[in-house]
Subunit: 322 residues, 2 copies
Amino acid sequence: MTALVGLVRDDLEACNRLIIARMQSPVQLIPQLAAHLIAAGGKRLRPLLTLAAARLCGYRGERHVGLAACVEFIHTATLLHDDVVDESDLRRGQASANAVFGNQASVLVGDFLFARAFQLMVADGSLEVLDILCSAAATIAEGEVLQLVIQNDTTSTEAQYLDVIEGKTAALFAAATRVGAVVAERPKAEAEALDSYGRNLGIAFQLVDDALDYSAAQEKLGKTVGDDFREGKITLPVLLAFERGDETEKTFWRRVLEERDQKDGDLAEALILMGRHRAIEDTIVRARHYGDRAIAALSAFGACPEKAALTGVVEFCIARAR
Amino acid sequence: MTALVGLVRDDLEACNRLIIARMQSPVQLIPQLAAHLIAAGGKRLRPLLTLAAARLCGYRGERHVGLAACVEFIHTATLLHDDVVDESDLRRGQASANAVFGNQASVLVGDFLFARAFQLMVADGSLEVLDILCSAAATIAEGEVLQLVIQNDTTSTEAQYLDVIEGKTAALFAAATRVGAVVAERPKAEAEALDSYGRNLGIAFQLVDDALDYSAAQEKLGKTVGDDFREGKITLPVLLAFERGDETEKTFWRRVLEERDQKDGDLAEALILMGRHRAIEDTIVRARHYGDRAIAALSAFGACPEKAALTGVVEFCIARAR
């Protein structure tokens, strides 16, 4: 990450200035609430990917700055709507916007940021870029709805889980990197290579996130362990522990995740079962697999600092699990 | 309305087919939930305005059908998010999508429909149309957030109330009619005339809606009286009754709307106070004023069946109050 940030520092600063400028509104609650998330200082991972992908493609203009801001707005809007969705109490280690401002404000300010994102795309003026990012927005929503449909359902499959994370997470990563090739007017093959890089990185990133939710490493990142567990969210660690468990264990998972009947000690018990079946380790193995595919997709590009930095991002995402 | 529907019947059927086709998704909950609202059979007022405005401008192509569907998707998405916002139990006389499917599904399916709307705009391919509708989407969100900020606050002003309804309602009406002139490639003056028509119609429409919430006529439309009252929503009838009331009455309004301390008989008392101060009648007078401005804006166009039908829509919207 450090190499990546170093490479595009000026672009990132321009992007941050644009984000602050475009989240303004005469309705004060909007910048207040947006700042709560945006100032919360996410890693800006997605906009960094757009900036670096464009530079990797030899782009020397400024359009990628606006599109990086657009990608961050879409991401921030989905976080605000997730606050409604998950009733999550922690977001990047602080109270979620929802807990502070309420469901209604989170929904509406999220809508505002979505609209701002589309306005930034229109200002960019490329219908191809608009198509990529609008399609990603639709896919993200489909992934989030599918996650809602299968939550608390221990009979859901690993394939359904992959559909969920490809939609809710990987689609935006793929769009964020693909547009880098589009603004640079590179051949379709490079756009598809960057799409594949972003998509596989996004899947790896989410797999690690879902592993972290059951891992002590999570606390280092200022998040609580077991948020997904308390919500009865069906993630790969759960699916692996369930399918590898005996009937007694399956009964336990059904009670805590399907019936949501949880009492003290249940999270500890879940962690023991996951340990017994190597559910966390094998989730990280899957993440490593997708991370390797992301790196392989970069073979379309010759050696350069941007390629090295994008390779480093994959390693960074997977290293979070340690 | 009948004249309008008659004039664009084929276009409306094409629009309805497109709406059904574009709300599909492999994630079944999405069409299910969307159908709950879309099949609930709104009047399709906004898409009808787009279709008629394009025809008024002499447009003979098919682009207006896709844009009308886009306008209906944006409207439906805001209804879904309003269900979260207002905890409204009734929407067009039936249980709101939210009551049936929950907050989370309403937010996410609303996001999907927003994305679909933007995809329809991208398919249309006009950056000018994209600019108009994306700006409207941002303005709608600002209006909804402002409404949230001033709700339960009896010190808010009529000017703030007008800002709210211009944002949450009139902006989409204005965009829906303006794009009719844009697809027909008519001069800016006609686009602005149709924008003014839609904006003033939208304000009149919302004023009547807010009057209806305290009127027996509401029951004829299958909605309950007093939803806004129970939510402590500050609308013009309330503002008029409050500013014209004595100190005892102001104390009443503060208790029921600011403290939200409501008991049996309070709604009846509110209706008595509004009657005493002609709050409903004067809200309708305001609506009539904006309706007349909408009709005046049509003077930019020569007499034709479309102009007559659009004039009729204004009368229809105001007549709902009787």
